[in-house]
Symmetry: C2
């Protein structure tokens, strides 16, 4: 099944999924042609993500995408079985990137503390790290993949939705212990599950109103979010 295969296949540019025509004959040789095809495929994804975000999935024709990519009208189907598989690849690529960035951000945060033995970043600092990284993935330049995933979920199959939900749960898993810790210390006043849903909503909705070069920076957004959600720790008696 396509979604499962696509999910287990590496999504980075190094381990290229084979182009459709060469399927069923073992691992294809990586000729110069194959590497170009990888670039073309990536370009196709980028153009599709941009168009899906601006016009929606149903409002974008495969011809629109082909034209933007500089291909003939039927050529997207050389790289993807159908339009829906292209959308799913965009969404999956967005989640892969978001997960990688999240892990990198948390690692970087921990590194600053590991040398000083015993020291750990506070739960508030960890949440700040997660929120900043989330805003960057949502609002950074050329990051159309995640907004497409957030707003076109209804256009993929149930199996594809399940595959993405799995990645989303993995993404959320990094947040839960941080929120639990804040709840336990009295700095988060809403039940963890609802708090998580409400906080993600506050962040995700920013793709609707945030415009670069105008108003707040991502840093200001992060600071404001922390101030809004995280209460002062109550003084211990």
């Amino acid at each position: 099944m396509t979604p499962a295969n696509a999910l287990s296949a590496p999504a980075s540019a190094s381990g290229l999924p084979p182009p459709r025509p060469s399927r069923g004959r073992g691992r294809p040789r990586k000729t110069v042609d194959q590497m170009d095809e990888g670039n073309r495929r990536q370009h196709l994804l980028t153009c599709a993500a941009s168009l899906f975000r601006r016009q929606g999935f149903d409002g974008t024709s495969t011809r629109d995408i082909a034209l933007a990519t500089g291909m003939g009208s039927g050529s997207p189907f050389y790289h993807f079985e159908n339009k829906q598989a292209l959308l799913f690849a965009v969404m999956q690529g967005g989640m892969d990137r978001a997960l990688a960035r999240q892990k990198a951000a948390l690692s970087a945060l921990m590194e600053g503390y590991d040398t000083k033995s015993g020291q750990r970043p506070t739960a508030k600092a960890q949440l700040g790290c997660l929120i900043r990284q989330h805003f960057e993935v949502l609002l950074g330049e050329g990051n159309d993949f995640i907004p497409v995933m957030l707003y076109e979920f209804k256009s993929i199959s149930a199996e594809q939705q399940a595959a993405l939900h799995k990645l989303q749960r993995e993404y959320e898993a990094a947040w839960v212990p941080v929120l639990k810790s804040l709840y336990a210390s009295g700095q988060l006043k809403a039940p963890v599950k609802l708090a998580r849903l409400l906080i993600f909503g506050a962040l995700n909705w920013s793709v609707q109103w945030y415009r670069q070069q105008a108003g707040a920076s991502i840093n200001e957004l992060t600071v404001a979010s922390i101030s809004l959600f995280v209460h002062d720790a109550p003084a211990l008696p």
Copy 2:
């Protein structure tokens, strides 16, 4: 121009906008036929809202809508100039209803206090009232109009967007003094403008995950939101 006309016309079922064919001959008489047409029009809007929400605007054909309404395939165009005007009417109807409900909720809150002279609801209570009402408009049964407005903004014209933005600003206007008051008292820790955007995001996003009969009630959602956003008032020195 259609959007402007539609905006200034009353949207309630009593003052019916004239069906298209009788245009240009003064106010049409309200025969039994006309009243039926009003019901048909309303039914059309309800069915369209449900389909637009489930399938998106571009994913819903006018034939889908006609079939759901029990009409022939070309009959929606008897009531609306085109598919886009139908979408705009759905969105506008949603905003009209949301505004009316908001005013009613605030009036009801004030009434409880008006008899006891001098007493006023706290800013926190006012925010609770606004949040509860907002959740009800977003998540209540058969309320597809507002979710459609939130997610199909790109499918209407710039003029129609401007008309809806005006209604949205009116809706937000009720929140601003409440948030300012909470900010001044130290119960809201994020700048008012960003706080408003983040809070609306947290609430609006609930249409993505909230399911009736499962998990939290609207009341629990409201309580959790208040707990999350509104900090304890600092003790005065």
